[in-house]
Symmetry: C2
Subunit: 207 residues, 2 copies
């Protein structure tokens, strides 16, 4: 199963949440695709890979499919997130409402700056010293590490994260880092995102 599929499952889950709030009980791939600008065949193929969730002639039961998707995405049990880097971005992520909404638990922020260690974010996420990270991860208190440190610190931090036994990392820091097999790294590179758009404008912007 590809990375792109995983992302789409997450999108489908959000669509279903919207539909449920609207009181929709059952939805066909065609209607779902139309309403959320997706592709019906792709929805069916993505879902069919994990089981036969649909009913021919009817479609999918919203509540039922939602439960299945949450389980497939591992959201049927709490997912604990530790954020390394308590700068502006790290703290914004710690307080991001979208994470809590889907059941993620932000365990703590981690930083090395004595100025902010011991303090907490606006919404009350505690800032611990990065030295604490390994102990907490080893104790099974962190499932996913989010890295939001300056570029020159990222290599060391990712090394620490991997050595702590973490197997999923969401990285916001720049750089072409590598992780050992068995560890999943997802990069969100803000500069690259913005430069891609600049490229589009520079090209004439007609595609």
């Amino acid at each position: 199963m590809s990375d792109l599929t995983a992302g789409r499952l997450s999108v489908y889950l959000r669509c279903l949440t919207t539909l449920e709030a609207d009181g929709v009980k059952t939805i066909s791939s065609g209607t779902l695709a139309e309403r959320f600008h997706l592709n019906a065949a792709q929805i069916r193929k993505d879902l069919a890979y994990f089981g036969e969730f649909g009913v021919r002639g009817v479609g999918y039961y919203v509540a039922d499919l939602k439960t299945h998707l949450r389980a497939i995405l591992g959201l049927d049990q709490p997912v604990r997130v530790g954020i390394i880097g308590a700068g502006n971005l790290g703290r914004a992520l710690a307080d991001y409402p979208g994470f809590r909404k889907e059941g993620f638990v932000i365990v703590a922020l981690f930083d090395t700056d004595p100025e902010c260690v011991g303090r907490q974010s606006r919404k009350g996420v505690h800032i611990l010293h990065t030295d604490e990270f390994k102990r907490m991860a080893k104790a099974g208190k962190i499932n996913i590490a989010v890295v939001a440190v300056p570029g020159d610190a990222v290599a060391g931090v990712v090394d620490l994260v991997v050595k702590s036994g973490i197997r999923a990392v969401l990285n916001f820091s720049p750089g072409t880092i590598q992780v050992p097999p068995g560890v999943k790294l997802k990069n969100v590179d803000l500069t690259v995102s913005l430069e891609s758009l600049s490229f589009f404008l520079a090209r004439g912007g007609d595609d």
Copy 2:
């Protein structure tokens, strides 16, 4: 030219900046690939599309290629960015050092909350009322719009942005929005990113 290629060009540019700082004058695709965990053939193909920048038997001149890439990415002239949504995330993005480093100019933050309009971010980016956005965009003061508003506001904001003549949008808000042809929309969905990682862990995490 695909979106993925544009992203890689941005990555190459950053690699070259690092190399230049290290005093490297010339680099082959093979060495570049090895050092930054990239693919040599892909680097050559990506670059060759825009011109014959390399010298056979030698490689690429770092400073020269960097200039070319900056021009291709439209970074040879200032790119002006307006950020709509002055919440935690919007303000963190406004102050993000990586943007300034590559020559982006953060024109202003925009929000509708009277509580924060008139104030400014830590680094001094002014927060204007969203009503001002259209005027500034029409006056050519904004090239790229960054959207970081709550999910229920995103449709209206993107509509405003498009009506203001903006042709490149970086969206951090959730939802499957659509823009007319000729407008480039890039989504950074934080919840989807995190859920993809959760999916990987739930699957057993061995790929």
